[in-house]
């Protein structure tokens, strides 16, 4: 409703400006032109990669045969990848999915729980604890990366997918974000449930959680994407090929096929596309999540 009012008033003032300057149509044509040009620049690397993945090797390397669209459309690159016994793709998808989903489960649970506690309860040292959690947001991961690796080494969890899960129970940003949302839950609602004899865990699970579910889902999507795309930490922790996640597999695979660009592009399409498809379906939530992280973080 509000948005509609804004649009109509914008349209009205727009037309007022147009009457005065008379250049409104040409200006909006320029704006659309620039925006479409921007879209083309944004999409070209994807399109170029996708097209290359369907080209034959000869077509890619021979300047005389090189065109933007594939001349001889081929699925050879994909067939090579799917039939490569040294590249059990399903396993790597499963690895990435395991790491990403475990972290989503852990972080959505702990962030909502502690967001709730920091929003709605009073206890000693609450301020100190919360200030510390906020302070950890400022500390770059590279600083604690070496000791974190040494801890994993001590417990022999390097080279183990659990190493990417076992040490990260909490997400400072998530706790902070969820606390913001929890503050808007009316205390009367919680007190009413307490009077009815509900336990605190029941209140959290049955009353608080449903209230913040959309925000929590947005946060969950964010955690999923960042874990799915993570590179540096998995690169350090996972050394054996069979426990690796997709981004490290992509560089490993490409290092072994440096001369075959078509193959490399097909591999990167296979690894990049799943998350893009997820994004296109959930784009509203994804964008909102990133916007929140920028404004609040």
């Amino acid at each position: 409703m509000n948005e509609m009012q804004l649009t109509t008033s914008a349209a009205r003032s727009e037309s007022a400006v147009q009457r005065r300057s008379g250049s409104g149509a040409s200006r909006s044509a320029i704006i659309y032109g620039l925006l479409i040009a921007g879209c083309i620049i944004t999409l070209i690397p994807f399109i170029w990669t996708i097209l290359a993945s369907f080209k034959t090797h000869a077509e890619i390397i021979d300047p005389a045969q090189r065109t933007f669209l594939p001349r001889n459309f081929t699925l050879q690159n994909y067939e090579t990848i799917f039939n490569d016994p040294s590249l059990p793709l399903a396993r790597f998808y499963a690895n990435s999915l395991f790491v990403a989903l475990s972290n989503v489960a852990i972080h959505t649970f702990t962030s909502s729980l502690f967001g709730y506690i920091f929003a709605k309860f009073e206890f000693r040292f609450k301020r100190v604890l919360f200030a510390y959690i906020l302070a950890t947001l400022m500390i770059p991961f590279q600083l604690t990366m070496i000791p974190s690796y040494l801890i994993l080494l001590e417990f022999n969890l390097t080279n183990n997918l659990l190493g990417l899960v076992a040490l990260s129970w909490f997400n400072a940003f998530g706790i902070f974000l969820m606390r913001q949302f929890m503050q808007s839950i009316p205390d009367e609602l919680l007190d009413a449930a307490r009077v009815d004899g509900a336990s605190e865990w029941t209140i959290y699970w049955r009353i608080v959680l449903p209230q913040v579910l959309p925000a929590l889902a947005t946060f969950g999507v964010l955690v999923f994407i960042s874990n799915w795309n993570a590179y540096l930490w998995p690169l350090i922790v996972l050394q054996d090929v069979e426990v690796r996640t997709l981004p490290i597999i992509l560089t490993w695979y490409n290092d072994r096929h440096t001369s075959d660009l078509g193959l490399q592009m097909a591999a990167s399409i296979l690894i990049v596309m799943p998350i893009l498809v997820v994004y296109l379906f959930l784009q509203r939530w994804v964008v909102r999540g990133f916007t929140l992280s920028g404004i609040k973080g």
Binding site: S9, S13, S28, L35, T49
Partner: protein, 407 residues
């Protein structure tokens, strides 16, 4: 016993029983009118001891008999002492008002975690910066420091400042590259995203959604994927860029390989990485600016328009000043993230070309020193220095871009 990974199990037992012990005990204490915080601490200690002791015992005893179930049953070690403890704890003689076992039962595991896996690594990282440390050497009793991993004092920081030796030279080069990278990324990013956001904001709502969706695609793309795609575009013989330039008669340029190629004195490889980084990253600031523009009251812009301001004037004198708080946040975030650039560079150039590495950045230096050359003390001191530089830059940006008004 050999094929069982005892060290990893030690961690599992620790985690499970620290959490369960300190989460459940306060609820029971609360129920019996005792202090839940006391319960949480007791539960933590008893749970950890019992989990370690009986976990190990169960595993050793059962492994020869029931190899499949032994590992799982060993996870129950904490119950051996906790169950009798929970059972035996007496209700307090005088009925005190009920405290909140829920808070004690959740905050205690959180504090335990923060101490063990956040405060400790942080302190450890700072300590490492003063030791010549490698995980392969036998060190002293505390965190492996001392012994064959000797204390070196401020030597690393001296090396960084003087740039002595190979390490110092490479560090200063990495710092310079990182600063140049950031100095290029920040203004270019702002110059792209702010006008683009204003343009997107001005188009019809239907197209706005489409443009935003497309512009955001690179942000969710894995940076390794981005690096591979752009590596192909920059490819000297087969890349799209040289093909296009070839049409204008420009001879192929070794964008990522040729150490001599440069534009206005800036190495071509560094520029190539900057462009790829901008391409991947601009959608992030873009959506933040779009959200910020939506929050600016339309009445302000309209008032200026009624007063006869042109669209460019409205943008310059109304929109831009009102965006200042958002510009502060985005520029801080952009500096922090571009200081941490690693994925693109590690995949596209490995820090090359050239002998000292024209695209070698700080995180790459940290990574290689820590995990390839196992000079973890040196790597830790670089990461500490990096943290200090970023913190300093953040303070400066906050000062420069701070506003004292609201709308």
């Amino acid at each position: 016993m050999e094929n069982i990974d005892l060290q990893a199990f030690t961690l599992y037992w620790l985690v499970i029983w620290a959490v369960l012990g300190s989460a459940i005990t306060p609820l029971i204490f609360d129920h019996r009118h005792r202090s839940p915080w006391q319960g949480a601490l007791l539960g933590l200690v008893i749970g950890v001891i019992s989990g370690q002791l009986f976990g190990r015992l169960i595993l050793t005893l059962l492994l020869p008999v029931l190899p499949a179930a032994a590992t799982w049953l060993s996870m129950l070690g904490g119950l051996v002492l906790l169950l009798p403890f929970w059972w035996l704890i007496k209700p307090a003689s005088q009925i005190s008002p009920r405290h909140n076992g829920f808070v004690a039962g959740t905050i205690t595991p959180l504090t335990f975690y923060l101490l063990l896996l956040s405060v400790l690594p942080l302190a450890w990282a700072i300590l490492l910066a003063f030791f010549d440390y490698s995980p392969r050497r036998v060190g002293g009793p505390v965190l492996g420091l001392g012994g064959e991993n000797p204390f070196v004092g401020l030597q690393y920081f001296q090396t960084m400042i003087t740039g002595e030796g190979r390490d110092g030279l490479i560090f200063q080069n990495s710092l310079r590259n990182t600063l140049v990278f950031t100095a290029l990324v920040l203004p270019l990013n702002m110059l792209i995203t702010i006008p683009l956001a204003a343009m997107i904001e001005s188009v019809h709502r239907f197209f706005k959604a489409i443009f935003r969706t497309i512009y955001f695609l690179p942000v969710v793309t894995s940076s390794v994927g981005v690096a591979v795609m752009w590596g192909y575009i920059y490819n000297t013989q087969y890349g799209l860029l040289n093909d296009v330039l070839g049409n204008f008669g420009i001879t192929p340029i070794g964008w990522l390989q040729d150490p001599r190629a440069n534009i206005l004195g800036i190495p071509a490889a560094l520029l190539a990485v900057v462009v790829a980084y901008l391409w991947q990253d601009f959608g992030y600031n873009l959506v933040i600016f779009i959200a910020a523009l939506q929050n600016i009251p339309d009445s302000l812009k309209e008032a200026a328009r009624v007063d006869g301001a042109s669209p460019v004037q409205v943008f310059r004198y109304i929109t831009l000043p009102l965006l200042r708080p958002t510009i502060m946040v985005t520029s801080i975030l952009t500096v922090i993230s571009s200081f941490q650039v690693f994925d693109l560079i590690q995949v596209m150039t490995q820090g090359g070309p050239g002998r000292i590495g024209l695209t070698r950045v700080l995180v790459l230096d940290i990574y290689e020193n820590a995990f390839r050359f196992e000079k973890m003390g040196w790597a830790a001191s670089i990461s500490l220095a990096m943290f200090l530089v970023v913190a300093l830059l953040t303070v400066v940006q906050t000062r420069v871009l701070r506003t004292r008004w609201e709308y």
